[in-house]
Symmetry: D2
């Protein structure tokens, strides 16, 4: 058994479990409040040599064991999965927030984990950062944000500092809707380009990144206080606040009743969503 295990998937599994066990103990000892599973290397290149179902089952067993051990040692911090598509494999198991949510639901882990959304991973998965943050939020999974960015036209993980106030504003809108994200927060998973060779550049980048987030938060607050956007959204969906709308939202809008209403109302016009860009 010994020899076989030293060169086996099982050996890797046990070794990884020992590593996570130790890291979790240290986190607990140091008063850590969160523990992130960065599954950035979990995935496959080809299904010809891969049993994806069995691999996902193993991943779930591993996560269950992590949850059990966390509880056993009294560590009350949040466990995170960090969705990540692309690099090093083409097919990553935690591709995006929805994929990670599906995994957590399938294996009954949805209440034990939250997501750590990284903006650059969001763009690499084909989505905007705001989409990923909001998808995590409405699945009850928004817990932390790796505040970086990547050029949406480049297909590798550049981990640039966040400098786009518009994007920061959108992200902050979801964070506010979520009532904040404590005990998680924002952290810079960011680095400089190779063109930046001065030591001071790393200070400038951190300052500008923080300022960008701060400005985003202030802009989000202003948007909310101003109320125009909220009013636009409220109006767009207000027909669902009507009696019939409420019946539907309560899950009692059957097709017979709806058909009757459709005949009564005639062909509908679509109210403008004012999407002028």
């Amino acid at each position: 058994m010994h020899g076989a295990a030293t060169s086996s998937e099982l050996g890797v599994y046990a070794y990884a479990a020992a590593q996570v066990k130790k890291a979790m103990e240290v986190t607990h000892y140091l008063g850590g409040e969160n523990y992130v599973f960065w599954g950035g290397r979990e995935g496959y290149q080809s299904l010809l040599n891969t049993d994806m179902e069995r691999e996902l089952n193993h991943l779930a067993r591993f996560m269950e064991a992590a949850v059990a051990y966390k509880k056993k040692i009294g560590f009350n911090g949040t466990l995170f999965i960090e969705p990540k598509p692309q690099e090093p494999t083409k097919h990553q198991y935690d591709w995006d927030a929805a994929t990670a949510a599906n995994f957590l639901r399938k294996y009954g882990l949805i209440d034990e984990f939250k997501l750590n959304i990284e903006c650059n991973h969001a763009t690499l998965s084909g989505h905007s950062c705001h989409h990923e943050v909001e998808t995590a939020r409405i699945n009850g999974l928004l817990g932390n944000i790796d505040a970086n960015s990547g050029d949406p036209q480049t297909g590798w993980d550049t981990d640039q500092f966040p400098m786009d106030v518009a994007e920061a504003t959108l992200v902050m809108l979801s964070v506010i809707k979520n009532g904040g994200i404590a005990p998680g927060g924002f952290n810079f998973d960011a680095k400089l380009r190779r063109e930046s060779t001065d030591v001071e550049d790393i200070f400038i980048a951190h300052i500008a990144g923080m300022d960008t987030l701060a400005r985003g938060l202030r802009s989000a607050a202003k948007l909310i206080e101003d109320g125009s956007l909220n009013e636009l959204v409220r109006k767009r969906y207000q027909s669902f606040d009507s009696e019939v709308g409420q019946v539907i939202e309560a899950g009692k809008g059957d097709f017979e009743m709806l058909e009757k209403k459709a005949f009564e109302w005639g062909e509908p016009k679509v109210p403008s969503a004012k999407q002028v860009k």
Copy 2:
């Protein structure tokens, strides 16, 4: 109420329900075996004017009503959701198989639907067709395949006829693993390029598409009969067939036991997955 509803999201919802009700009745009357919800236009451009959570709730209520009506009229056909990313909106609600599975699980609809995987939609979502078919399969959702293809370097839905035997072989491997996909099947959601102006081209394309799928099925059968790939996969994961592996797969592999094994076995080597491409 009347006036308001004629220009409202609610009016659209009721109208759509009436349409689906009628289409489902006709399908049932004609002996149809499947009913596909092609949600190709369900999505949003910007969260500034969109309440994604409420929209997804509405979508779920709609699907619940469809399930109830199906049962009421005695229609036993399979209901399908067809994942589709991109076009016309950037953020589509049925982006890929995992996203659709998450939706179905969240709203308790996982046993009422299957997925209709389209190869061109697969590539537009950043995945291979094989990945999407297999993701559907291991979530118990593989039900039908829109057999087309798109150039993986072009970002819009070209719906080309399937002509790649290698891809067809991979897809057929998953279909065989699934024990077939009846009562669903393969259908050509495909059209010609504008360069093809002869009437006969559409015949040639259908014939070549069917031949491609047939050749793929024969190649898949050969691969399975040959057994080499299965053996490679079996060996890759065989350490999990051991006693310790079985304990893990049964959900009883706790971190303490695994740490003990890791110390016993030492640093593991990773067995080669023979990924030579």
Copy 3:
């Protein structure tokens, strides 16, 4: 001959020539100052049925004839090629500014045409709009700008109104460097999303688009007046203003001299480009 030509590439060529001839005459009659060749459909799907060399030769012959006719009728307006990648073919002959420039140089047409850069086409070709505008400028080809934008993560031509002040600022920096772009200018090749159904939305979009460009111009002017960025760039390259640098720029920096200098100077450090994002 007649019959053959009515269904032939040659027939298409002659028909297109007649159309362009007429359109050019009308443009001249109406006092038009520019004439844009939007080669958006010029390209191919597969080289198995395409002689790209012959097609490009034909395209060049067509452009030469256009130049000749323009001169013959005394039309002094600028002729433009509008680079465009993607849709309807995968391989477009005017993919981007550099590709169009190569075509013009190869066929001796570089002094007869300028480029009409569209920002959405820029992003579809894998570049930023600023890159395409600047590439046109340094090739002496910047003549007009289709001021729109597209989401850099979507792979089809959405022709959205320009609303990104940061991008507008960058584009305006190149336009200012170019000394303006008259007799060309900016035009909106833009439309609304299908979510926008109010008539007033088209007004709002135009106003916001114009404001975006105006703000971009003001920001660009401020950046230039402030001088910090120019100073950063000047310093980055100032070593080429030295004696040795000037020798190199004059085309007289041979390898022997440079090797001697390299030995004299030792291993160089790279000055920081202050790329903090």
Copy 4:
């Protein structure tokens, strides 16, 4: 001067020149037949800190010096530029074959260089490998092929071994049209995925890669011998072999004559290119 140059763009330039000088001498001494300029790091992130025009001028001066030194020492090998988009910068100066050709034409270097086309670089630039090889060929620049491949859906340079017979066939068609590519050839710029950990995998990959190219060459030869595709292409363009067509191809097809023909022939039908996929 000394101090300034040790931390300057000029210092880097001189150092690089000394390196290339030495490498070229060694290549010549060892009887090398080719010298490749892999400009994989030549590019920029942002035009705010970059003078692209001056950088391209410097690049041209450098290439001129290389040509001069090659001649001086009697090295008759071919000089290559290897187009490469993406990584580490977003905007690479040798993005694709057309971009490199434009550079060579602009600076009068078109007769001094050929291109080394890498298939993975081709896909990263948004093109197929066949497109890049053929673009090089019709610009008189096809000289060598880095025979690898990358997944067209992944945005970084994976340098996988070529295993796609269909793609190899297409590439070989262009190579045959080019009359071969000696003194260049095919070389494997390829490596394994991290899943491959056996030493033997690297042998298997080389063998499979070579077999793929060999099979591609045989398939290309068969396609040419069979003649069907050539005949399809010949027919597609045969109207240009007519008297009028020859006038056009000779550069004498003016708009007046073409308009006359268009009236004579009427609205043309487009002959089918038989693009059934």
